[in-house]
């Protein structure tokens, strides 16, 4: 995974609450079991005036030429709610979004971001309204967003930060604890034998 340290980009504003993953990537745009070929369907219901003909909707933020190269998307509360589909994050990343700044994220979406090297930053509404549409520099090791000479701090879990900064794969990290997991399971087998369905078959 690409490590995330700093990023300078315009913040494309999408100031809506409860943007769901059905809108980020509609089910009908998920055409294969792979993780690619999704950028074209990103925000399809809002981005296209005619979804089937792929006619752009000029009123949608990502169709504004100013934000053609934006790598940061700003949003409202509870972004990424609804379906757990990781395709939402794969679509955003494939399109070129490397960071989301929102008033809040749905929990599954947040975790999917971290697992795919996309930085989810939570900021309050007041800060978001000030930085939306401006060029900002994000410094993840320092946990700051700087815009127009103003620097704003943000919180992110220590583990999420390490994984993003170092571009780590969570499975490799957990496999380092394989002995601890095996020991836990060995003890649990006597406490809850009924959990281990393979032992009785």
């Amino acid at each position: 995974m690409t490590p995330f340290t700093t990023l300078t980009s315009l913040v494309a504003p999408l100031p809506r609450d409860n943007v769901d993953t059905d809108t980020v990537i509609p089910s009908r745009e998920m055409r294969s079991t792979g993780k690619t070929g999704l950028a074209d369907g990103l925000f399809a219901p809002w981005r296209y005036a005619d979804v089937d003909a792929r006619v752009p909707n000029p009123d949608f933020v990502l169709n504004d030429p100013i934000y053609a190269d934006a790598q940061i998307l700003g949003a409202g509360k509870n972004f990424g709610c609804g379906s757990s589909r990781e395709h939402a994050v794969w679509a955003l990343a494939e399109y070129g979004i490397r960071c989301m700044i929102a008033e809040g994220f749905a929990p599954i979406f947040f975790q999917n971001c971290v697992r795919n090297g996309l930085l989810p930053v939570v900021m309050d509404k007041d800060v978001l309204s000030r930085i939306s549409g401006t060029e900002v520099t994000i410094d993840l090791p320092a946990q700051t967003v700087t815009s127009s000479g103003q620097t704003y701090a943000f919180d992110i879990g220590e583990e999420a930060k390490t994984m993003l900064v170092e571009g780590l794969d969570g499975i490799d990290l957990t496999l380092k604890h394989a002995d601890k997991i095996a020991a836990w399971q060995a003890a649990d087998r006597s406490a809850r034998p009924y959990i281990y369905l393979g032992d009785n078959s």
């Binding site: 993780k35 509870n78 836990w184």
Partner: protein, 453 residues
């Protein structure tokens, strides 16, 4: 020190702390479906990794399977067959149990996992599906994750989890007649908003919850994800164990699970109390499950203009009496036998209004379908003008295949009224199966006769 139910399950499954409030948590059960599961299985195979314990991983075809009679692998969604054949091949290669398209046990993940006793009290269960919270009704810690996390749990037997906060929602008093678990969760969403439970484990408690049967408890927990919660959970009691006794994957002799309740005096990060006796049948008016109100109440004055434009309504207007084009009973929220019985009782001897273009009943599982047919419910529905289908997720969401007529206004027993969820331009109003059934007969959104709307 008194503990919450969540604390007890977390502590039991805690293997090690990792960093900054994150812990390695053992995962007892993993459930996959063809829409997101194949991604996890393929990624695992491509990385040269294997499932740690095959007996603890299950998969089912539910999301895009055809629900018309006589189905095969073909789907109405273009290219959908690939998801089914690839998932089947990947399940076989990984050596995990698959409930296939025409298997007698096929059905929606969160309907069949309880039916088969795969979810058990006190266990951890994950699935790459946001409605996994449904299964918290069994006193399990069951939550939705992405495909990468499903792969993670299959390979390692554990997940790295940021410890969620805890919330208790207590429904005091008894529900009025005709008011259901669906109305309870919609009332909570209306009161607190769709982000109200953000990253909390939400325990549902109180007299009205204790009085619910297991199927209704599943309806309640099902929409915890619509509340932005980490998951929903309900303490174990006699109702729970009575349901599980004799289920295929449940132990022959049930263990003592009586400790799987929050202790008296347990402290939650947040507490909400709702008087169940004041609740009424609910219906959504907008494009978020939080946009809900008692049937007959006006749309709030401060409703978002973009939302109202999409749904074609105005602030101050009531949803009650709106003409509908479609009535849909199904989904992991409300497609179990008790849901179908209650809806059938209302439609028996009546007919769907002529103005309703589509009226559809999709049982939650093949077992539910058989049980309903044994009671003659299918005949009641078809006599009334409903279509009766094979089980699956069906038109809870639009995958690009089967759709409702363009621009339809739909009364739906499902969980999501998002813009475009059931198809481009489709206007979805979520309600209980009773309200869906009554509305299908009336041709407009109404409460069942005898209920105060």
């Amino acid at each position: 020190m008194p503990h919450t139910l969540f604390d007890k399950i977390w502590d039991l499954h805690h293997i090690a702390d990792t960093a900054g409030g994150t812990a390695l948590i053992a995962i007892d059960r993993i459930f996959l479906h063809e829409r997101t599961g194949a991604s996890a299985l393929n990624a695992m195979a491509e990385a040269g990794r294997k499932v740690l314990d095959q007996a603890q991983v299950f998969a089912v075809m539910d999301h895009i399977v055809d629900t018309r009679p006589g189905r095969s692998d073909g789907t109405l969604m273009k290219g959908g067959e690939g998801f089914i054949t690839e998932t089947r091949a990947a399940c076989h290669a990984a050596g995990i149990t698959l409930f296939d398209v025409n298997d007698a046990d096929q059905g929606i993940t969160h309907v069949i996992s309880p039916e088969l006793g795969i979810v058990l009290p006190g266990c951890t269960l994950i699935a790459p599906d946001s409605h996994t919270c449904t299964q918290g009704a069994f006193g399990a810690l069951a939550w939705g994750i992405g495909s990468s996390e499903a792969e993670h749990a299959m390979v390692t037997g554990a997940l790295r989890v940021q410890k969620p906060k805890t919330m208790r929602v207590t429904f005091k008093g008894a529900l009025p007649n005709g008011v259901t678990a669906k109305d309870m969760i919609l009332a909570l969403l209306a009161q607190e908003g769709a982000g109200g439970g953000a990253s909390h484990v939400v325990e549902f408690a109180g007299e009205a919850v204790r009085n619910l049967d297991m199927e209704a408890r599943m309806t309640l927990c099902n929409m915890a994800t619509e509340f932005a919660a980490f998951t929903g959970i309900i303490g174990v009691d006699q109702t729970t164990t009575d349901y599980l006794r004799g289920r295929r994957y449940a132990p022959d002799s049930l263990p003592d699970w009586s400790d799987l309740m929050s202790d008296a005096g347990a402290v939650f990060d947040r507490e909400i109390s709702i008087d169940a006796s004041t609740l009424r049948p609910m219906v959504t008016w907008g494009t978020s499950p939080g946009h809900a109100a008692p049937l007959g109440d006006p749309i709030p004055d401060d409703a978002d203009a973009k939302v109202l434009t999409y749904i074609g309504l105005k602030a101050g207007q009531s949803v009650e009496g709106l003409p509908i084009d479609v009535a849909f009973i199904g989904s992991c929220t409300n497609s179990r036998l008790s849901d179908l019985r209650r809806a059938a009782a209302l439609v028996q001897g009546h007919h769907v209004a002529d103005t309703v273009k589509v009226a559809l009943v999709v049982p939650g599982s093949s077992a539910v379908k058989r049980a309903a047919e044994a009671e003659g419910l299918d005949q009641i529905f078809t006599d009334a003008g409903f279509e009766w289908r094979e089980s699956g997720c069906s038109l809870c969401f639009y995958a690009g295949g089967e759709s409702f007529p363009p621009g339809s206004r739909v009364i739906s027993s499902t969980n999501r009224n998002f813009e475009g969820r059931q198809g481009p331009g489709i206007k979805t109003h979520i309600a209980s199966p009773e309200v869906v059934a009554a509305s299908a007969l009336a041709g407009r959104i109404v409460a069942p006769k005898g209920d105060k709307g």
